[in-house]
Amino acid sequence: MNRSSPIPIATAFALVLAAGAVLASPPAQTALPAWEQLTPAQRELVIAPLRDRWNADPQMRARLFQHAQRWQQLTPEQRARMRHGLGKWEHMDPQQREAMRTLFHKMRDLTPGQRATLREQWRAMTPQQRRDWVEANRAPAD
């Protein structure tokens, strides 16, 4: 009798679903270009923390520069591992950082056997003994 066509209703339903999908999905993040294609303002924005650090402490500049030179020597695979180590570093408290920094400086001059011995010694130490050991073997700033 007075049955209306289901096509417009189905079309409307589909469009409502499509609108919902469009609104529900987050706006697509357009991939940023390579550094060379960034605008000067964008580059400025990215390096602002480093510039601030560089200007804030003149005593640190040689150290930052030396680290940047070393970073440039690393292979892409080493840089990836470095980022992994940096991730661990960021989750350490200052006391842990100092201990790991001291252990690193101590161990890099040791043979594999000596490193294993130091690990065993470290494992056997009490927290106070570890603090004393770190204090006695404190690494010089790079």
């Binding site: 680290h67 989750h91 470290w122």
Partner: protein
């Protein structure tokens, strides 16, 4: 009833309005004289004749709804694109924000010797950290 109503065209003094009223009165009388059954049949046929037109009218709201939804989709898509463009024009410097270090990952990368971070990812450091 007067003579003018019986023969509306005869009176030269009859106005158009009076003529129309006279015709409508005749029409009402004719309908009133029909039996209820015949009236019901006529009404049923009248409804059947009007049905297609009604159907067309009923389809209009559905197409209107579809058109409104189309506009909604276009509007939503436009808003979406504008937001995406806005994000593109002002990129978030994710590289400069990380963890507990206020100076950010970019600075932290150079704050310590890269070899220290490399060592932290080594087996030696893992064994010490896992204790």
């Amino acid at each position: 009833m007067n003579d003018d109503r019986q023969h509306p065209r005869r009176g030269s003094a009859l106005s158009d309005g009076d003529f129309e009223r006279a015709l409508r009165a005749r029409h009402r009388e004719a309908i009133d004289s029909l039996s209820p059954r015949v009236q019901a049949q006529l009404q049923q046929r009248l409804r059947a004749l009007r049905a297609p037109a009604t159907g067309i009218r009923r389809r209009h709201p559905a197409w209107g709804l579809a058109a409104a939804c189309s506009l909604a989709v276009v509007f939503a898509f436009g808003i979406h694109r504008r937001l995406a463009d806005k994000n593109t024009s002002v990129p978030v410097p994710t590289v400069a924000v990380s963890g507990n270090n206020d100076s950010g990952e970019l600075v932290a990368t150079l704050d310590e010797a890269p070899d220290l971070y490399l060592w932290l990812a080594s087996d030696d450091a893992n064994k010490i950290l896992s204790e």
